[in-house]
């Protein structure tokens, strides 16, 4: 069982940091710029996974399994969230025949 952390540690920690920051930034930009709800949703998933990568890497470098446990939690919650979120998007599509979030601006003031 000790092998997996060791394999992770073959890559320097900085690489993980840069990689996940980049991944997270891509996610954020995607959420901010895209109008299609499904794409926004995927970008959110990207951000979650950026965090997952970081947690895994740091956990193995620190020799502490807590971070990896968190990853499982995040994955489980993300799966549930996708389930609900996609269902909502399907309902929205059925109603307005589109998944453009800009059109959903009736809930204001």
């Amino acid at each position: 069982m000790n092998q997996i952390p060791e394999i992770i540690r073959t890559v320097p920690l900085e690489y993980y940091l840069f990689f996940s920051t980049a991944l997270f930034a891509i996610g954020v930009i995607g959420v901010l710029t895209r109008r299609n709800a499904i794409i926004i949703f995927m970008c959110v998933e990207l951000m979650l996974n950026a965090v997952n990568v970081l947690l895994t890497a740091l956990a193995s470098y620190r020799g502490d399994a807590t971070g990896q446990v968190f990853v499982f939690f995040i994955m489980a919650v993300a799966a549930a969230e996708v389930c609900v979120g996609l269902a909502i998007i399907v309902m929205i599509y059925r109603n307005i025949r589109s998944t453009d979030v800009q059109l959903l601006n009736r809930l204001k003031w």
């Binding site: 959420v31 800009q102 009736r106 003031w109």
Partner: protein, 654 residues
């Protein structure tokens, strides 16, 4: 130098001591909650029964106390207030003075409860009335039994509250409510002085418990008439002024007659108003250390006695006359305290409680028979219709006028003898007061019970003697007013006959140590005493004859409302315009100031701030709501920017 005897702890008596105030409290709770639900018979049974039980326990305590060598003791219950060094226990001090007051309060209290059962029988709030007077009994007992000033203060406030509730008992009448408020506010002024006095006692002696304070005071090294002693005693006396209706805080007492008559008898004549005297007497060691205060008390006392007596001469309301007479007699008691005649003062408290309760209850009986008519101009000739009331009322009047062998004679004579030794001018004024007292009391008797009936036909047909529950207390009190004086037989009739003096001697133990000269017994020449006695009796008799000639032989009746009176008569009829004066110099400026505060401070500043906050929130929200545009991208952007900002601040600034 005399040894200081500290009271010992006697927990064996704890239950009995606790029951004495507790029983009336239980009566209060039961009657108060069951006001409309309990039958009237049940209410009076509970009301009177609890007080009777308290009285019997008090008697038992008294017997036990005397049998065990008359040693003062304390009973501790629990530590009530404990802050830093200050320890205030909930405990009772039982000594000669406490027992005397307990017997007086519960004994007379019981008689008046019994009387109320008859007097108030037609009142719809019968239960409420009994609840309130039971609460009064509880507070008064707490006041006299407590073993520290804080407990006395609690009782002091409690009786003030009950006084307020009972003056305004018929609360549908605005005038009565105003009288209640007046009593409450005036008492509060006095209470402030009392409270400051307690604080000063605590600062000076480091305790508020009687045994500790008095022992400290007895060893006090600041000398006689030190500033702090004068301050303490004067502040305490301000409290006594309020409660015991002395100049300048006496105007509430005559107005307090708005309450039901038994209340006037119990609270505003026999017990509560003597709380001030009890307090001074309890603190006698402090007072003997401040002769200057004593002089002030004597002057206030005689001034009050004289002023109230002159007003009493021209009043036409049967209860008002008695009220002014009460104020005047209280002035007498303070005069006695002022000349350090402590025994005479408490003796007069005791005899006054008997005869003034009797007079008020008699007046109540008359008012009951007259269908609530209180004006003596419409009475007359009631002797035939109310024989028992007449006879007992006459005994009370003879007692207050100081005719031997009735109770008032002994106490008043002893009191005046002390004043004679102290200051001849004060004695002269005291004698003048005594003359006026005798005159207006007999004026009252002659106008009420002699001559012909001056009321309406309807009233005449309704005239009747009161029921047994009302006449029985009258008879008992009449007997007490007759024989009560023999508790203090003056030395001219034999040495060591003064039972009260012998009995009360131990309570001056501390004062003996502090200032022995002040409490030395009075040694007056027998010939002088005979002379003083003779003069005061002669003066009283002359006053009676004068009243008889004016109101029986010449059949004078006080002028009706609206007739023009001579200037002096007008002045005293209108009570020296003291109420109007207070209104002009105190009440109106305060009202004016309050309205300024209301308009400026309350409306502009307080309301302005409160409404301003509301308006600000409404206005800013009105602008800010446009930020909720419905564009999800914008929300997310704001969110990301905010998170970035928070992280930035966290890393680079925090």
């Amino acid at each position: 130098m005399q040894e200081i005897v500290m009271p010992f702890n006697n927990q064996a008596m704890a239950l009995l001591c606790l029951l004495i105030p507790l029983l009336p409290l239980i009566g209060f709770i039961v009657n108060g909650l069951g006001n409309r639900k309990l039958a009237k018979g049940m209410v009076s049974l509970i009301g009177c029964g609890t007080v009777l039980a308290s009285f019997l326990i008090s008697v038992y305590l008294f017997v036990d106390f005397t049998a065990n060598g008359s040693r003062a003791y304390t009973v501790d219950f629990y530590n009530w207030i404990s802050v830093g060094d200050m320890q205030i226990g909930f405990s009772f001090l039982i000594d000669q003075l406490t027992l005397l007051m307990m017997l007086m309060v519960t004994g007379i209290g019981f008689l008046i409860h019994l009387y109320s059962a008859g007097y108030m029988s037609h009142d719809e709030n019968f239960g409420k009335f009994f609840a309130f007077i039971n609460l009064f009994m509880f507070s008064m007992l707490l006041l006299v039994m407590g073993s520290n000033y804080v407990m006395m203060f609690v009782g002091w406030e409690g009786v003030g509250l009950c006084s307020y509730l009972l003056i305004g008992f018929w609360n549908k009448n605005t005038n009565y409510n105003n009288a209640a408020k007046k009593a409450f506010v005036m008492n509060r002024i006095g209470d402030l002085g009392f409270l400051l006095g307690i604080f000063l006692i605590f600062i000076t002696f480091g305790s508020v418990s009687y045994p500790q304070v008095f022992a400290e005071a007895a060893r006090y090294t600041g000398g006689i008439d030190s500033t702090v002693m004068i301050a303490i005693t004067l502040l305490l006396f301000v409290g006594a002024m309020g409660k015991s209706a002395q100049i300048p805080l006496f105007t509430w007492l005559p107005d307090a007659m708005a309450g039901p008559t038994p209340v006037s008898a119990l609270i505003h004549a026999a017990t509560m108003v003597t709380a001030g005297i009890y307090m001074v007497l309890r603190s006698n060691v402090l007072y003997v250390l401040a002769p200057t205060t004593m002089e002030v008390i004597a002057i206030v006392g005689i001034a009050t006695a004289l002023l109230a007596a002159t007003i009493g001469l021209a009043q036409n309301d049967i209860k008002k006359v008695l009220a002014y007479s009460t104020v005047s007699q209280l002035g007498y008691m303070f005069l006695a305290l002022g000349v350090m005649a402590f025994d005479s003062s408490i003796f007069h408290v005791l005899t006054h409680a008997f005869f003034k309760a009797l007079l008020f209850l008699g007046a109540g009986s008359v008012i009951h028979a007259m269908s609530n008519e209180q004006d003596i101009r419409y009475m007359g000739g009631l002797r035939k219709y109310l024989p028992i009331t007449f006879l007992t009322f006459l005994i009370g009047t003879l007692a207050i006028a100081g005719i031997p062998p009735f109770a008032g004679f002994f106490s008043k004579d002893e009191l005046l003898a002390h004043v004679w030794e102290h200051n001849k001018l004060m004695w002269g004024l005291g004698l003048l007061t005594s003359f006026m007292t005798s005159f207006y009391m007999f004026r009252l008797v002659f106008l009420t019970f002699f001559g012909t009936f001056r009321g309406t036909e309807a009233q005449k047909s309704h005239l009747h003697e009161s029921p047994i529950s009302m006449t029985l207390p009258l008879i008992v009190l009449a007997i007490l007013s007759t024989i009560g004086g023999f508790l203090g037989i003056p030395a001219v009739f034999g040495e060591n006959m003064h039972l009260l003096q012998n009995y009360l001697a131990p309570i001056y133990g501390y004062a003996q140590v502090a200032n022995a000269a002040a409490v030395a017994p009075l040694h007056i020449e027998h010939s002088t005493e005979w002379m003083l006695m003779g003069i005061s009796v002669a003066v009283a008799v002359v006053a009676i004859i004068l009243a008889y000639v004016m109101y029986v032989s010449k059949k004078q009746v006080p002028a009706a409302e609206g007739t023009k009176l001579s200037p002096i008569h007008n002045l005293i009829y209108n009570k020296y315009y003291i109420d109007e004066l207070y209104n002009a110099i105190i009440v109106r400026p305060i009202m004016w100031l309050s309205s300024i505060f209301h308009k400026v401070f309350d409306v502009v500043i307080v309301d302005g701030v409160v409404n301003g906050v509301g308006k600000f929130v409404v206005q800013s929200s009105r602008t800010l709501r446009f930020a909720q545009s419905g564009a999800i991208g914008f929300y997310i952007l704001i969110m990301v920017v905010s998170i970035a900002l928070i992280l930035f601040l966290n890393f680079f600034i925090g």
